[in-house]
Symmetry: C2
Subunit: 358 residues, 2 copies
Amino acid sequence: MPGRKPKPTRITLQDVARRSGFSASTVSIVLSEAPLSRYVAAQTKERIRKAAEHLGYRPDIFARSLRSRRSNTIGVLVFDISDPFCVLILRGIEKAMQGTRWMPIIMDAHNERSQFERYLDLLMERRIEGLIVVANWLFDEGGLLEKTSHEAVPSVVVGRDVSEQGIGTVIVDNETGGYLAIKHLYELGHRQIALIRGPEKLIDSTRRWQGIERFARESGWKLDPSRVRQLPDALDPISPFEGGLELTAELLATGQEFTALIAFDDLTALGALRALAQAGLSAPRDCSIVGFDDVPLAALSTPGITTIRQPMEEMGAAAARRVLDTLREGEETSREHDPVLEMLPPALVLRDSTAELR
Amino acid sequence: MPGRKPKPTRITLQDVARRSGFSASTVSIVLSEAPLSRYVAAQTKERIRKAAEHLGYRPDIFARSLRSRRSNTIGVLVFDISDPFCVLILRGIEKAMQGTRWMPIIMDAHNERSQFERYLDLLMERRIEGLIVVANWLFDEGGLLEKTSHEAVPSVVVGRDVSEQGIGTVIVDNETGGYLAIKHLYELGHRQIALIRGPEKLIDSTRRWQGIERFARESGWKLDPSRVRQLPDALDPISPFEGGLELTAELLATGQEFTALIAFDDLTALGALRALAQAGLSAPRDCSIVGFDDVPLAALSTPGITTIRQPMEEMGAAAARRVLDTLREGEETSREHDPVLEMLPPALVLRDSTAELR
DNA sequence: ACAGATTATTCAATCGTTTTAATATTGGTA
DNA sequence: TACCAATATTAAAACGATTGAATAATCTGT
């Protein structure tokens, strides 16, 4: 049979209606489980479902969205998907969305503000019902979400603290993270500890610093400021690596003694590792190193990097849950009863880049 | 002014029609640049555009898609987005799609076949007009795309060769890649070269092997099979690391002499690096190592990994172009005149994990 | 001056749902 | 008996665009 067309006709609600013997209205009500379906006889439902299945009916999402004014989609705007940090958050978001009637629609802004805005526009055009921004590397957040959305759709930012702008935020508890990092090194016997702080504009960096200071106060020990460096403000996703490399080399060149180093994040730690190697030194023999984040490659480098883990999947899931909760509330009660800022606990992950002071 | 509602009403085509003084038809024709717009007076177009802009009109994509039967979206189904390999391909796809009227809609199958099928279904439901599958780590492709699509929408797979199933494929030229890797080591003076092949089921692995054999033939040198190992078939994204670690340890344990090692990919190389370190050896001093892929972390480890680069962004872009070309052709002539298999050239990237034989 | 092509615009049907309001059909109760 | 509430189903009007066919208006050549 040569010219037999496969399936020239779409199966519509009407088809199901005809086959089941009920009207399109009833079929719609049953299949979409609208409130009115409460009143539909069980037997009717049964027959309609059978018919739909038999015909292989799939609702047309465009018609559906057009009429119902809902898209069943949540926009997920990622600042830079090439950052492994973001990827794991995505996972969490997606898993949390599994099995709900929402689906994520993901866009990647490539680290460019203009793209970010363009894509945000595109998302709004697609009538997203909620928005999650995954922001790893984001300065100058001023009014990022003001222009569009945020008023219109429930939004959450994960990875950067924008709670001061009144925008829902999910982040790791940076202060505790800093505390854990220094505590670990201190307990290993290190006292001469160098530090590479994050970019100045990044609030996270400050928080981690505060955690470190708190530990210093509590333990009556003092961090020597001459061993502290700071990464430059830069958007490039591998700039922390370069920064870690250069700043560590610089620290070594000054002749400053240090037996351990806390890096702003794992990439910075990798840079530090290389700087050590270039100076003929190695971790943890000559210097212990602690990173931050626990991106996948922290486990794969040699030595594996001891680091402060951000629970990235959980953060993504938390962000998704927040948005979905707000959405569901909207259906019944009024919203806004949860705190704007949600902080998840970090954890120390022991690997091979740190060791007891000899 | 307290209770002033922001924008309760959507701006529709009708509004633009009224304001510009033309009918909805004309407005639609002008704004969507339909073929008929050829006949619309320049002045009319001007007026309509002005009106649309002034009102801030945005077409409703649901209504548009419902009526026109096109979604202007291309489905992008990624096998495992946590693989950096995939991420760069995504970049390429996205960039190639920039400025066209299509937009990618990305889904991540988490390395699970069942998810893959579910998401493929979801994509079809959204009436994607084209499909790009980004498959890094994909065995058992048998009839992956048969069930759905592939007949219905133009499809391309990037990263794995499925051209034998008649499905468009974009991959790197693995044979040349293997050739380049061995050639590099040979020219550095290495003759005792160990090899960790990829999983048996992966055709890529065989191709790279063929490249290596070709070089051996051409140079009259012979690879000792006792120095060859093979990664197990496994789906886990970090299994190559573990495999590289174990197999290298095993090679070292046999007492086999080797001054260089070709790893199946960069992760395998990282595993090998660690195995060396655990044996108190280091690259490139005691053993040179070549990877494959050039994922971002190849540059970040210490030593940086000399590797065979897959032009991932270009591959993504090529895949996107293929799909878009087919789509555009469909509008005019008949399709299918391009080859099913498209191979892009790899390149040797020199870093610090290889060195001349002392 | 007229047929026919070309240019310019519009009418009205349609895409496939959801939803509001209306219509039947019950059974229970005043 | 008549009325009301609860149960069960449906008719018909949206939702906001696109498009094929129809209508006007203008031009071209004979």
